[in-house]
Symmetry: C2
Subunit: 242 residues, 2 copies
Amino acid sequence: MTTKTSERQFLERYRPERFARPSLTVDLVILTVVDKELRVLLVQRAEHPFKGRWALPGGFVRVGESADHQGEDLDEAAARELQEETGLSNIYLEQVRTFGKPGRDPRMRVVSVVYFALVRPSLVPLVRSGGDAARARWYGATDTPPLAFDHADMLAAAIARLRADLDRTGIAFQLVPETFTVQELRTAHEAIRAQALDPGNFRKRFLRMIDDGVIEPARGKRATASKPAHVYRFTVEREVES
Amino acid sequence: MTTKTSERQFLERYRPERFARPSLTVDLVILTVVDKELRVLLVQRAEHPFKGRWALPGGFVRVGESADHQGEDLDEAAARELQEETGLSNIYLEQVRTFGKPGRDPRMRVVSVVYFALVRPSLVPLVRSGGDAARARWYGATDTPPLAFDHADMLAAAIARLRADLDRTGIAFQLVPETFTVQELRTAHEAIRAQALDPGNFRKRFLRMIDDGVIEPARGKRATASKPAHVYRFTVEREVES
DNA sequence: GTAATAGTGTCTTTTAGACAATATTTC
DNA sequence: GAAATATTGTCTAAAAGACACTATTAC
């Protein structure tokens, strides 16, 4: 540890423009619920380092060189990467946290802003593998192969955030179809919490959300193997990336 | 918007090393509770841009140029800046969110990782103004002068995070002395929520935390203007920056 | 009819909140 | 004793959870 004085000297000796700058990336934790399970989209790295390992999709933020053209926003970079990797647009994205431990990329200092994306199950079949990565695959979110870099930490942080938001926000609505049954929403909650919920008790919470104007009945029913269920719609306008 | 193809060409034409890189800073939302009010430490800018305006303390992350010496961690940069600006060390710090909108600094592309710090009221008198900034002052967290850059957004995000964590974590323990009375903890909650809480009802929650082993009685009492109160201690080890 | 799921109801426990009452200390 | 705060207690309402029961549809 340097002393206070030398630190201040350091600061005064260097002009801001002369501080070394890190590379900046966004990494995406793309989540969905399929077969009552929370799943994450991973890509297999085609290049060193960690060649052949599975990793979160991501890429460099486009940074402009001049004061007038500074490049794209972080949210924009996340949406663009998502589009490039999956072909999907208009998907719920939320910033999780930024990872910047020195040495996390052996080549150079790379700071990465992590986002999670919530993909409705109905869109999953439309996902097509893009980008440079050789392959893309959905894995159980808590059952992945070893991940490249510090991507396991990123995944854990994204899931923790999702769980923390679950009972506080309407985030689960991003993981069901536009119109959904009580069971479908319950299944999303169960997948996120990795825990079964009582159907009767969950329905009570559901009805309360109707009373609160969060959910409203929609037209039609959902055909099942037995008694068809009513479908509902999320009332509040969703915040989606444009 | 470019097409998918040209975006891919873009990616392939550029080696990672050749992407432009942003400047990287940390900005600190340093909070405390004084006189039953949540307060934030602001510094007055001595340089352009926004010369003379009040701003959050912060500074550049030290980034190494080589693969072997990549510089300091983000958490480390936040702790160092806090030490430089206030003289305090061993303070609770938590990453909030990263701000990187192009144009947020008119000089160049600057991406800033925001942390909040929680300073126990007992430490407030020890805070001394450091760094380059001419002056530092505590302001009511919701009653600040106009702030430089996008610092008002940062402050709002930090307060929102603090409020969201309040009932979910033991974060309020960072804003009371090491041993504290029921009232002191209640006052911290009231300041964060900007709302009065019933003393009797709060005590019930407090007793429940004792049952849960979160809080334990400590030796001594707190002298007041009337009946002295018992003091307690947070049981769980605190996570503090080293 | 049978299987399967939708949907309703009951009971208990926990928690939040409003609010009254009592206890203990300083001055 | 008066003021001030600590501390306890009561009552109500909202919510979570366990669990039994009824209704409706596909087959």
